[in-house]
């Protein structure tokens, strides 16, 4: 860990750090952690935010002691320096109740500032009202938190736009249509047209980060998998990578190849499921049926290849836990993907379907950057970020995926990105599969983790985008702090922007299908 000299912060020191960042031989690997005094944080944030290709990927806090005895809180900012192939973590000790406002410089950080206030009782300087985002309304001072309770209750979310004249505000959900997750929207409308939309996710909050404290990474994996079941591989990969960094473990290459195959299979079935949801939302029942046939065949392929339809139980700390049935994969993948390919071809020739997608749910290019969006949602606006290309772990460094990109930022653009990614996933599975693939662990099961304790950052490009995790372990190898940041945490904040751009009610399910996020991934 490099310490940033207080006197150099924001200027020469920061520039020097960023200039040498991520270059081979810098010695710190792809993740550099820098200690920044909280008084210099504002200048550092401005400096890094101005660096080309820098993206604020996450903001979170940890308490040195869990009690409310005024223990010190460490604020961490995780910056993805996509152009430099590295991550920069700044750590600042917050001793009072306030720290410099981040959302003035990086608007994407507002949701995290709110969450940190609810969990740790520290807030950005200024009078800005903070919203309730993570914990439910009944969460009083005795509610289990990661730190101490806030002095004041956060405010309930309200529409940022003025509600007046003919516009009115009404809640929708959390119990919604058939077989979709519970999710609560606040809608502001003047009739048909959507003026505003905001989301609550606290009714699905299971307190996963709180739950993981005291567990070994191996024990925690069971819960990380079930935080967002449709992103099990991506999220457990990020978490395992973080734990491995903290433990000083390096999974064998064949296990990394196995992980990559599972991750691409996860991407494939999610994109097929999104296609089915798009057809359902536009009322194209026959297209939905065709996509569902593809989806079912892909899920059966997962079961044949790895023993579970949703690929639970593949990733393990130090490697992989499930054997890949390569023969089943080779024999079943072409047919399963063929179903999706043919369905997509027919859909792209069905004008009545395309008409519903085009110019619906438009996200402007700068919105993706401003809000720190990731994944297909970002790539459809022309922001070509992809953790497999920007922060490659083996085997992606060798088998380089081409990054799918579109410009229009509408539902159709997101659909096209997903289809291109599906084709690329099939190619990657074929190529990686031909390389050495097999199970393997960095240490034999039952032998326990490695000796060193510390902290680590892990990441993976899940089907929804970059999934991040950070863990800190004590001397006994048990978790003192686990931070999970699935892609959904980032991308839901783009959803209201997309819905607001001259859309009507019936467009909401279409836009939601094109984002293909989960409430579970953000509520966690």
């Amino acid at each position: 860990m490099t310490a940033l000299e207080p006197g150099l912060a924001g200027e020469a020191g920061l520039r020097g750090l960023l200039a040498g960042f991520g270059r081979d031989g810098s010695g710190d690997g792809p993740v550099t952690t820098v200690s920044v005094p909280v008084t210099d944080l504002d200048a550092v944030v401005r400096g890094v935010a101005a660096h080309p290709g820098a993206r604020l990927a996450d903001v979170f806090a940890s308490a040195s002691s869990p009690a409310d005895d005024g223990g010190q809180v460490t604020l961490r900012l995780v910056w993805a320096l996509d152009a430099d192939r590295g991550y920069l973590i700044t750590e600042s000790l917050v001793e009072g109740e306030a720290y410099p406002s981040l959302s003035e410089i990086a608007p994407a950080a507002f949701a995290e500032e709110c969450e940190i206030y609810e969990q740790f009782g520290i807030r950005p300087a200024g009078e800005k009202l903070l919203n309730r985002v993570a914990l439910p309304p009944g969460a009083g001072p005795d509610w289990p938190r990661l730190g101490r309770a806030p002095a004041d209750q956060p405010a309930d979310v309200h529409a940022p736009h003025h509600v007046g004249g003919h516009a009115f505000e009404f809640p929708f959900g959390p119990v919604r249509q058939v077989a979709v997750e519970s999710l609560y929207y606040g809608l502001v409308t003047s009739g048909e047209e959507l003026v505003d939309l905001y989301l609550f996710t606290w009714h699905k909050h299971r307190g996963v980060e709180w739950r993981l404290r005291g567990m070994t990474p191996g024990e925690a994996l069971f819960y990380v998998e079930r935080t967002e079941g449709l992103g099990a591989v991506g999220n457990t990969w990020a978490f395992a990578a973080a734990a491995e960094e903290a433990l000083g473990l390096e999974p064998p290459p064949q296990a990394m190849a196995t992980r990559a195959i599972a991750l691409e299979l996860e991407r494939l079935y999610n994109h097929a499921a999104a296609t089915a949801a798009l057809c359902q939302s536009t009322g194209l029942v026959i297209g939905q049926a065709a996509a569902e046939i593809a989806l079912e065949r892909l899920l059966r392929l997962n079961a044949a290849a790895f023993g579970h339809r949703y690929l639970f139980g593949v990733v393990d700390i130090g490697g992989t836990r499930a054997d890949l049935d390569a023969a089943a994969l080779r024999s079943d993948l072409p047919g399963a993907y063929g179903e999706l390919e043919r369905a997509a071809e027919a859909l792209l020739s069905t004008n009545s379907f395309l008409d519903r997608l085009e110019a619906t749910g438009i996200l402007a290019g700068d919105a993706a950057r401003r809000l720190g969006l990731v994944g297909p949602v970002a790539r459809a606006t022309g922001l070509a970020i992809d953790a497999r290309a920007d922060h490659p772990a083996w085997p992606y460094g060798e088998f380089r995926p081409s990054v799918a990109e579109q410009d229009a930022g509408d539902v159709l653009a997101r659909f096209r990105v997903m289809l291109a990614e599906a084709a690329e996933s099939v190619r990657l599975i074929g190529e990686i599969g031909r390389a050495a693939v097999g199970p393997g662990l960095a240490f034999p099961p039952g032998a326990g983790p490695g000796q060193p304790h510390g902290s680590g950052l892990g990441w993976a490009e899940s089907s929804r985008g970059e999934s991040l995790a950070w863990v800190a372990l004590d001397e006994g190898g048990r978790i003192t702090r686990a931070r999970l940041r699935p892609a959904a945490v980032r991308n839901w904040r783009g959803f209201d922007d997309a819905c607001r751009s001259q859309n009507v009610f019936t467009d909401i399910p279409i836009i939601e299908a094109s984002f293909w996020l989960t409430a579970a991934g953000t509520a966690r």
Binding site: F222, A290, I293, A303, F312, A346, T350
Partner: protein, 112 residues
């Protein structure tokens, strides 16, 4: 839309015949474990109880109490004691009473 009609007709029917006929895809599904009483010792049973992340296993004296309802078929108990467990192969697990899912397996193994 002749495009879709032709596609559909060519595709044919994929619908399962279940429950009239068994579905071969069921063979791919992960299923809860079955336990071998003749191999299970109290020590082994305790190891299994400790390794289950979903609290589906408990020991009651000379019985291993297995809650099929809490089981996620994660396979950790199978990996911890492959000689004492097997795959049950059962996926038709719906119960009309919660107790129907609580199984008591006697510990018959000798402590050698």
């Amino acid at each position: 839309m002749p495009l879709w009609t032709l596609r559909g007709l060519r595709r044919g029917i994929v619908t399962t015949r279940y429950p009239a006929r068994p579905d071969p895809s069921a063979a791919l599904l992960p299923t809860p474990p079955a336990f071998r009483p003749d191999v299970l010792t109290p020590g082994l049973a305790d190891r299994l109880v400790a390794v289950c992340p979903s609290r589906a296993l408990a020991r009651d004296g000379n019985l291993l109490v297995f809650d099929v309802g809490a089981c996620t078929a994660c396979g950790r108990c199978r990996a911890a004691a492959p000689e004492a467990t097997a795959s049950s192969g059962e996926f038709e697990l719906a119960a009309t009473a919660r107790e129907h899912l609580i199984k008591r397996i006697p510990l018959g193994g000798s402590t050698r």
